[in-house]
C-alpha cells in the first residue's frame, strides 16, 4: 500500500518528525508555526499572512468537511481568503480521508495536490507545538523524496510577494475606502462591500496619496512589517491629513511604525481563534481571531497615541489609537474568517468615522 512511504518534517534544531504524506508529494521549506483554531482550514491556508510558513494545526482531525468549490462573488472567490493556498506545507495529526459536507467539492488532499502543497499526517502535533512554544518559531522543511535546504521567509519582502500588481475597484457607495493590500484577506474586502462603500484595492507600494478617499485601510499581511518601507512612507503622509485610518494585523504594525513607534518579533506569535483582548480602561473583553508573528511595542508608542487593546493572556499589544485624530488599528482580525466575528463592529465604527468626515 501507498501508505508505507513516510514523509518527514525536519526542524532547524535537528529534530525529525515522521508521518504519512498527503497532498502534493513535493518537498518544501519555510518557517514552522502552529495554529490552535479548531475550524477553518480552507480559510487559514489561503490567508496571505501565512506566506512562507509551514503550518501546524493543533486540532488533530483535519479534512473532515473537505474543501468548498471555487465560486466567485464580487470578483472574489466566495469561500476562500485569497486566490491560492499560501502556506508552504501542512502538518497535522489525523487526516480524514473521507470528507462529508454539502458544500464540499474536493478533498483537502486533492486541493493541496492542485496547489502543489505537501502535507504530513500522523505527527504528534502537540509535541511539535510544545517545542515551538519553548524554542520559538523555527525553520523547517517537509521532505518527501528529495532533500532541500532550509529557507527563511522573514529575510524576504513577503508583502511584495502577496500584494496585487494592479488596482481593483469593488462595491458601490458614496464613501470611498482605500485599501492598501499588503496581503489582504478577502473577507476584509467583503466586510467593506457589505457595508455599502466603494473600495479601491491598491498594491502595497502604490502611492495612494495622489487619490481622493474618505477613509484609508491598511490590511493584514505576512512577515516583518519593517520590510514594507514603501507602505510605511505612504502612511506617514496620510497621517498628516485628517482622513480616518484603520488597520488590521500587519496594518496595526505599519501604522505604529509610520507614526514613529516600533515593532518586534514574538517568540512564537499568536495564531488562533480564541485570543482574549481587553479594551483598555474597561471590563470588556473580546474573543478574537489572530495570526501574527510580530507585534507593536507598547512602550515605544509615539506621542499622541495610546494602547487601545491588550491581550488578556500575555499582555502584548492588540491595538493602538490616536488620542485626538481618527486613526486606530487592531492586531487581531475583526473580519474573522476563520474565527469569531465578535469584533466586526469595528468596521462599523470605522465607517461611522468616515461618514462623519
Amino acid at each position: 500500500m501507498k501508505e508505507k512511504t513516510l514523509a518527514r518534517l525536519v526542524l532547524k534544531d535537528g529534530s525529525v518528525f515522521e508521518g504519512k504524506p498527503f497532498g502534493a508529494d513535493s518537498s518544501e521549506a519555510g518557517e514552522v508555526v502552529f495554529n490552535t483554531g479548531m475550524v477553518g482550514y480552507p480559510e487559514t491556508m489561503t490567508d496571505p499572512s501565512y506566506r512562507g510558513q509551514i503550518l501546524v494545526l493543533t486540532y488533530p482531525l483535519i479534512g473532515n468537511y473537505g474543501v468548498p468549490p471555487k465560486e466567485v462573488e464580487h470578483k472574489l472567490l466566495k469561500f476562500f481568503e485569497s486566490s491560492r493556498i499560501h502556506i508552504k506545507g501542512l502538518i497535522i495529526s489525523d487526516y480524514s480521508h473521507n470528507y462529508s459536507h454539502w458544500n464540499a467539492s474536493s478533498s483537502l488532499s486533492d486541493w493541496m495536490k492542485d496547489g502543489n502543497i505537501p502535507g504530513i499526517y500522523g505527527i504528534d502535533t502537540r509535541a511539535l507545538t510544545k517545542k515551538l512554544r519553548t524554542k520559538g518559531s523555527m525553520l523547517g522543511k517537509i521532505i518527501n523524496k528529495e532533500n532541500i535546504s532550509f529557507y527563511n521567509p522573514n529575510k524576504e519582502n513577503l508583502v511584495e510577494q502577496v500584494s496585487p500588481k494592479k488596482v481593483t475597484q469593488y462595491g458601490k457607495g458614496k464613501r470611498r475606502i482605500m485599501i492598501v493590500d499588503t496581503g489582504c484577506k478577502y473577507n476584509i474586502i467583503r466586510s467593506f462591500i457589505r457595508r455599502k462603500v466603494k473600495v479601491t484595492r491598491v498594491p502595497f507600494d502604490y502611492n495612494f496619496n495622489k487619490h481622493q478617499y474618505d477613509g484609508l485601510f491598511i490590511s493584514n499581511g505576512p512577515g516583518d512589517p519593517k520590510m514594507a518601507q514603501e507602505t510605511i512612507e505612504n502612511i506617514k503622509i496620510a497621517l498628516q491629513k485628517e482622513k480616518p485610518i484603520f488597520g488590521i494585523c500587519l496594518g496595526n504594525q505599519l501604522l505604529a511604525l509610520a507614526a514613529g513607534g516600533d515593532t518586534y518579533k514574538l517568540k512564537f506569535g499568536h495564531r488562533s481563534q480564541n485570543q482574549p483582548c481587553i479594551e483598555k480602561g474597561t471590563k470588556r473583553c473580546f474573543i478574537t481571531s489572530q495570526n501574527h508573528g510580530f507585534a507593536v511595542n507598547p512602550k515605544k508608542l509615539p506621542v499622541g497615541w495610546e494602547e487601545w487593546f491588550v491581550n488578556a493572556n500575555d499582555g502584548t499589544n492588540e491595538g493602538i489609537i490616536h488620542k485626538r485624530k481618527p486613526f486606530f488599528s487592531v492586531q487581531f482580525h475583526p473580519e474573522a474568517s476563520p474565527g469569531p466575528v465578535d469584533t466586526a463592529f469595528l468596521f462599523d465604527r470605522f465607517i461611522k468615522r468616515v461618514k462623519n468626515g
Binding site: K4, F17, F34, T36, G37, M38, V39, G40, P42, E43, T58, Y59, P60, L61, N64, Y65, P68, S93, D94, S96, H97, N98, Y99, S100, H101, W102, N103, G122, I123, D124, T125, R126, A127, T129, K130, R133, S272, Q273, N274, Q275, P276, I278, T282, K283, R284, C285, I287, A312, N313, A336, S337, P338, G339, P340, V341, D342
Partner: protein
Amino acid sequence: MAKKTLILGSGAIKIGQAGEFDYSGSQAIKALKEEGIKTILINPNIATIQTSEHLADEVYFNPITPETVEKIIKKEKPDSIMLSFGGQTALNCGVELYKRGILRKHKVKVLGTPVKTIEVTEDRKLFVDKLDQIKVKTPRSIATSSVKEAIKAAKKIGYPVMTRVAFALGGLGSGMCIDEQELAEKAKQAFSKVKQVLIEEYLAGWKEIEYEVVRDQYDNCITVCNMENFDPMGIHTGESIVVAPSQTLTNKEYHKLRDIAIKVIRHLGIIGECNIQYALDSRSEDYRIIEVNARLSRSSALASKATGYPLAFVAAKLGLGYSLTEVKNSITLATKACFEPSLDYIVIKIPRWDLEKFRLVKREIGSEMKSVGEIMAIGRSFEETLQKAIRMLGKDMHGLVCNDIKFKNLEKELQQPTDERVFAIAKAFQQGYSVDRIYALSKIDRWFLHKLGNIVKMGKKIKSARKLSKLSKEILKEAKQNGFSDYQLAHLLKTNPDEVRKKRLQLKITPFIKQIDTLAAEYPARTNYLYLTYNAQENDIVFNKGKQVMVLGSGAYRIGSSVEFDWCCVSTALTLRKLGYKTIMLNYNPETVSTDYDICDKLIFDEVSLETVLDIYEKEKPLGLIVSMGGQIPNNLAAKLHERKVPILGTSPDSIDNAENRHKFSRLLDDLGIDQPEWKELSSIKEAKRFVKRVGYPVLIRPSYVLSGAAMSVAFNDQSMNAFLKLASKVSKEYPVVISKFINNAKEVECDAVAFKGKLVCWAISEHVENAGVHSGDATIVLPPQYLYLETARRIKNIAKAIAKKLNITGPFNIQFLAKENQVKVIECNLRASRSFPFVSKIFKVNFIDVATRAIMNEKLPKIEKSAFELDYVGVKAPEFSFSRLKGSDPILSVEMASTGEVACFGDDIHEAFLKSFLSVGYTIPKKNIFLSTGTPETKAILLESCHLLKKMGYTLYSTFGTHAYLKEHGVSTTPLYWPLEDKKPNVMDYLKNRKIDLVINIPKNFEREEVTNDYYIRRTAVDYNTPLITNTQVAKLFIQAISQYQEKDLLVKPWSAYREEGVHR
C-alpha cells in the same frame, strides 16, 4: 456582595438528572467559600460530595420543595440564593419561590440569571416571542393547553409533529407523533402533569449542535465549548452519542451558530452559564434554535470535563458580580477565564442504558431520556476515542467490533434506534452495507459512518494477519491507534490478551500520557488533567516515582453503582492528601466530582480496565492501588492485578476472592459456624429441580455472575421455576445458576464496617424496612435500627468480627444478613465500600472512608468513641425510582435493583425521618382519596390496622373488589372499583387517569415476573399520571403510621450540624 447564600441541590439521582449536579453544586460552594461567603446547602442526596463536611457551612437534608425552602430561609436568613446549580429541580423550586413572593418577602436576592429570564427560557411561547424580537429562528411551534387544541395545532403544522412539555427535565413527555391517535394519547398524559404542551415542526435528520455559553454582567460573552450529536435530531441529546468539538461543521457554520448563541444569550440577559441547542440542516446553513437551558446542565458538566474549563465555578463567580476578566483560568493559572478553550484532542460521550433491568420496557430511544448515566472518552483520533468509549460503558462490549451481539432485523435497528444502534452500524458494514445505505436509514452524518467503517476495516486487516506472530509492528501500532484493545486483538488473532501485551511491550508499543490544558499547548498547564493515547510520540509529564497512590474510580453511573462510590473515591483521595500522599485518580465519568482536577494530584481520565491500569502502573509505579472504593468495577480487577504483581493496598486480593467466590465463602462460613441460607450451584435443569424438591419453595435463582441482582428471580412454585429456567436456557457447566432457599418474612440487615488487620474498627448496623425479597439497593434503610432485637444486633456484630478476623480485612467491607426471630444468616459479603457508606458515615458523623483509608495506608487510626454510635435521632434512606421515564416498565420492587438514586433524611423519630425522605423522592401526603389493593390474605391482614387508621384520619378509600370484601368484613368501608381489564364502571383506570386518586397502595400477590395483568395496569397508570404508588407491605404500613403522626408543617428543618452536636455530646 453576598454574605450568606442559599444553594439548592438537585435531590436524588434520577433519569434526566444525575451526578452532574453534585459536580456543579460542589464547584459553586468552593467558589463562594473562596470569597468568605457563608453557604447553606439544601440537598437530601446524602451520597453526594457537596453534602460532605468540608464544603457547605450548613447542610439541610430536606426535600427541595418551596415549603421546606421557605422554612429554611426563615431560619437561616440568607441574603441571596443560587438556583442554577441543582438542575431542573432547583430551578423549578426557585421559580415557584419567586412566584409566590417568598424571595421578595424575605429579601433574598437571586444571584446569577434573573428569574424573569429563567421564566422566558422555560415557557415556550415567551421564549419564541423573545427570540423573534432579534429575528433568530426557532422551530414552528404552537403552544396548546388542551388535547383538543393540540390536535388542531398539529393539523396546522402537518404530521409528523413533536410534542414538548414546558418545565421538564430530560424531555419528559416529549416525542414524535405520526398521527392524531398517537398525539391524543401523548397529550392526555402530558396534560396530567403540566398545563402546557407544545406542538412543533419535526426536524428529524437535521444535525444537532450545542454550545455552552458564559456571560457576565458587563456583557462579556463567550462560548466555552461546542458539541455535535452523532445521532441526528429526533434523539434527545442525553440519549445521543455526543462529540466535542463539532466535527462536520465548517468555520462559517461553527461561527454563525456561535454568533447567534451570543446574541441570544445577551438578549435573554443570562448571567452565568447556559446551554443552547440547535438543529442545523445537513444540506444548507439553515438552522433552528431548539432550546436554551438557563442553568448548569448535563451538557455543561460534559463541556467542563471535555475542555478543562470549570464552568460551574466560573458561573458562580459571575453570579457574585465578577467580570470574566477578573476570574483566573484555573488550569494555566497564568491566563484568565475570559477565553474560549481550544482542544487538541477529541471527546466522545456515550449514554449508559440499563433497559434490560426493567420488565416490559420499550428499548427504542428517542426524544425522552432513558439512560441512567454516561461516560466520556478522550483521544486523538475518532476511532481510538470511540472504541475506548464503548468499553467504558461496562456493558461487556469490547469496542465497536469483536462483540457477541446479533440483530434480528438490521435495517429496522438502523432506522429505529435502540441502545445498540452503534453496534448495528458495525454489523451493517461487516455485511457489506455501503455508507450511503446506512446513511439513508440512520441519517447519521457520513463522516461519522466512514469513521465507523474504518474501524471495521481495521478489524479485517488485523484478522487477515491470522496469527499474532505474523502481525507486523506497523499494523499492531495502527490497531492501537484505532483503539483496538489487547482483548480485541487477541479475539481476532485467536490468542489471549496477555500474549498481545507481551508482544506490544517487546515492540515498545505503549500509550502516551497527554495533558488537557485548555489552550492546545499554547501555554504551559499547571494542572495534571491527563488521558492516554497511541496517537502520539511523547508523554507530556515526567514520571516521578514518589510517594503516590492510585485510586480506581467507579466508572459510569448505572443502576447499582452511582454517586455513593464517587463519594468514597473522593473521600479517599482527600484523606490520602491529608496523610501526605500524592494521588492519582483514574475514572471516566464526566458527571463526577472525582474527575475534578483539584481533587487529586493527577487525574487520568481513561478506562478502568486491566490493560489501561497496567499501562499506567508501569509508567507511574505508584506505591499501590486502592480498589475498594469504586464499587464492583475496580474490585473485579483486584485479583487480575495482583496476579500481575501490581500492589493492591488494603485487604489482600486472596481474601477478596475468598469472599467473592461463593464456594470458598460458604466453606469459610461453615468453618466459623455461621449460618447461611442453603444454596447450590447447579449446571443442569435436572439438578436444579432435584435441589428445589429437597429444600422446598420459595427459592432464589441467580445466574453465576451478577451485578446488582441482574436477572435474579424468586420462584414460588414449579410454574415460575420453569419459566425462569426457560429464560436461562444457557444454563451449563460454563454458565451455572445458583439456587438458594428463600426465607419468607425475614428481615434484612446490613453491616457496613471498617477493619484494620482483621480487627473491627468501626461498624454500622442498619435495617431494611422491606422484608427480604427487595434488593438492598431498592430498600428503605433505617439507622440506627428501630425494630431489631438487641440480641440480633449483637450476633451480627460478632459475625462481622469473626469474618473480619478470618479474612484479615484491612479496609471497608459490607455484610448483608437475613434475620428472623434472632436467627441470623449471612447472604453476602463484599470486601469493599458499599453503597451505604456515605449514608452511615453522615448519620454517625464518622467518616468510614477516612478511617478505612487510614487503615489501608497503615496510618494511625482515629479514636472512635463508642458513644458515637448511640444516637438520639434517626436516619432513613429512601430509594428514587425513575419508572415514569421508562415507558411501559412495571414499577415493582424485586430482587433485581431498579432504583436510580437515593436520599436520606434525619428525624427525631423514625416516622419523621421516613416521611421527610419519602417527600424528598417525590411522594406527597395524600389529601383525600386512596386506592387500596392489598395483596394476599396474609398481607391484607398485616395492613388491616393501617386501613383502620386511614379511615380514622378521614380518608376516602377506594379498593379492588377483593380488598373491598376483606376490609368490609373487618369493619372498614371502601368504594370498590372495577379492574382495568374489566369493561365496567366505575373503573379504577378512570379514577387514575382523571387524577382522582392521591395515593395508590398496590401490593403484588407474589414476586413473579409475569405477563401484563390488572395489577400492572394499575401500577403503570399511577406512575404515568404522577400518582404516588406504594407496592410494599412494610413501606405502606410505615407510611400510614408516619402520616398519622406528622403533617408536612410539623416536619422540622434542622441543619445537619444540629443533629451532629446532639450525637456528639450525649
